[in-house]
């Protein structure tokens, strides 16, 4: 049970959160202009690193806010949390 620091509510148990996939994958400006291959990249292809991963979470059983986190997928350490729209912080 991870302890995830919601930027608003502070640390809460993982069970209160929903995982929302890789962060910084914006919806394409004009999907119609994309090739099938480019669209498939948006739909299905995500990073899968062993190490720090910028990802989206929603404090779904709490304040219902989406936010971003950098989590080390090898250790589950949450290295940083930041709000939607902010750039990925530099983590050690």
């Amino acid at each position: 049970m991870l302890l995830i620091p919601c930027p608003w509510c502070g640390p809460r148990d993982e069970a209160e959160f929903g995982y929302g996939g890789q962060a910084h994958v914006p919806y394409p400006q004009d999907p119609a202009a994309l090739s099938d291959r480019e669209w498939a990249r948006y739909l299905f292809f995500r990073d899968n690193p062993k190490g720090p991963h910028a990802e989206r979470w929603c404090h779904s059983a709490g304040c219902r806010r989406w936010f971003n986190a950098v989590r080390n997928t090898a250790t589950n350490e949450v290295l940083a949390v930041y709000r939607v729209g902010e750039p990925r912080p530099v983590t050690g």
Partner: protein
């Protein structure tokens, strides 16, 4: 007077399994990943195609990944034609594998029940049974009374929170002893002259002119005419070395065993709705799988609350398990694709072959994967059963959507 001790009757392993050779500088085929799939591919390269100038490179110990960490369920009752095709191919191979490898795999066709707890589960179960039959996969629909006949300890009372409304039943499904399978395949490959190289981490893939020409490893460079990736949860990292992107996410999947218990559970029971998968292994331990963790991780461990939830669900189904004890929990890392079906076949890089994305289905597919991937490597042409699982399906939209269609995982 004293009952026959459990385990006394279990077969011994052979006295000889494999050599521990140093790698040669080049091979015809290099298989990256010495798990069940890599070893099976080596075995079938030798058996079906006479290709033995092969190295299997394993960064840890052979079959130390998901092959060592799964719940050993074998079945082929998948919904879609493509899935039923490859899993049934695997099951048929399972049925002859013990003899073929001359290794006691403890393959036990004790059947699998996939329980239905809602009216929609019933519809989905019926749909799958009917599809299975037309695909030549043995399948039956059982009502709750018939479920109890197959597995008397299931609580089929109608007033439970998630009542058992019926189940699909595949009698030919079952379990096998995972280590024995891996070692049987490894021994066979080794005996054919294939080099199984452990503690050899691949750090790069050589690509020249759009064609794979070898790998860089912790034991030095190794040239190869063909390179096949069989690295499950680590496939993303490896494929990226060749510039190939994969739609994979690696998630922990937990399992656990109890202590040894007198036989109470004669079959395999899976309940997708409440995430319980349980069988009783040969020595008597209950082997259970849980749902996968929601977020990707390489921790080989899941979150505790998943185990706790799984226990609650298990006791609802099997009240007699109350005072059984969890002896050991562990996590594997499953590589999951967007449609919960594998990716097998050629890649944009010539002579680089891919086999990944098996999610929770990897163990049961082991011999099927081996034979299909060996064929694909040998002919540089996807085996017909592999064609639907090409990477391109994510572009065309022709997914083999096993979770969308509410089919069961594991």
């Amino acid at each position: 007077m004293s009952p026959r001790p459990p385990g006394a009757g279990l077969p011994e392993h052979p006295d000889r399994l494999w050599r521990n050779p140093d790698p040669k500088r080049r091979y015809e085929v290099v298989i990256v990943g010495g798990g069940g799939h890599g070893l099976a591919t080596a075995h079938y390269l030798a058996r079906d195609h006479g290709i033995t100038d092969v190295a299997v490179l394993e960064r840890g110990w052979l079959a130390g990944g998901n092959m060592a960490r799964n719940t050993t369920i074998i079945r082929s009752n998948y919904l879609w034609d493509a899935s039923a095709g490859i899993y049934e191919h695997a099951l048929k191979l399972w049925e002859g594998l013990e003899e073929e490898l001359d290794y006691p795999l403890l393959f036990s066709q004790r059947g699998v029940l996939n329980l239905a707890h809602s009216l929609q589960d019933v519809r989905d179960g019926m749909r799958r049974v009917e599809a299975n039959r037309l695909n030549g996969v043995d399948a039956q629909w059982l009502d709750p009374d018939q479920v109890r006949e197959v597995c008397p300890i299931i609580n089929t009372a109608p007033d439970t929170r998630h009542p058992v409304l019926g189940a699909t039943y595949q009698p030919r499904a079952g379990i096998a002893k995972h280590d024995h399978v891996a070692w049987g395949l490894a021994r066979s490959a080794d005996a054919a002259g294939i080099d199984l190289i452990q503690n050899c981490e691949v750090t790069g893939i050589e690509v020249r002119g759009g064609r794979a020409t070898g790998v860089r490893t912790s034991l030095g460079p190794i040239a190869a005419d063909r390179v096949a990736l069989c690295a499950a949860g680590h496939s993303s990292v490896l494929a990226a070395m060749a510039g190939v992107e994969l739609p994979l996410q690696s998630h922990p999947l937990q399992a656990l065993v109890s202590e040894l218990l007198e036989p109470v559970h004669p079959t395999v029971v899976m309940s997708n709705a409440v995430h319980v998968y349980v069988s009783q292994a040969h020595k008597g331990e209950l082997v259970m799988g849980a749902g996968i963790d929601a977020y990707p991780a390489y921790t080989q461990r899941g979150a505790f609350h998943i185990i706790a939830d799984q226990m609650a669900a298990a006791l609802e189904l099997f009240p007699v398990f109350a005072r059984a004890h969890v002896l050991r929990t562990w996590g594997g890392i499953v590589d999951v694709t967007p449609d919960a079906s594998p990716i097998i076949g050629r890649t944009p890089v010539d002579r680089l072959y891919l086999n990944c994305g098996w999610g929770t289905g990897g163990f049961k597919a082991t011999p099927g994967v081996g034979s299909v991937l060996a064929h694909t490597i040998a002919y540089d042409e996807p085996h017909p059963l592999a064609r639907p699982f090409h990477l391109d399906r994510f572009t065309t939209g022709a997914l083999v959507d096993e979770h969308g269609a509410a089919a069961v995982a594991h």
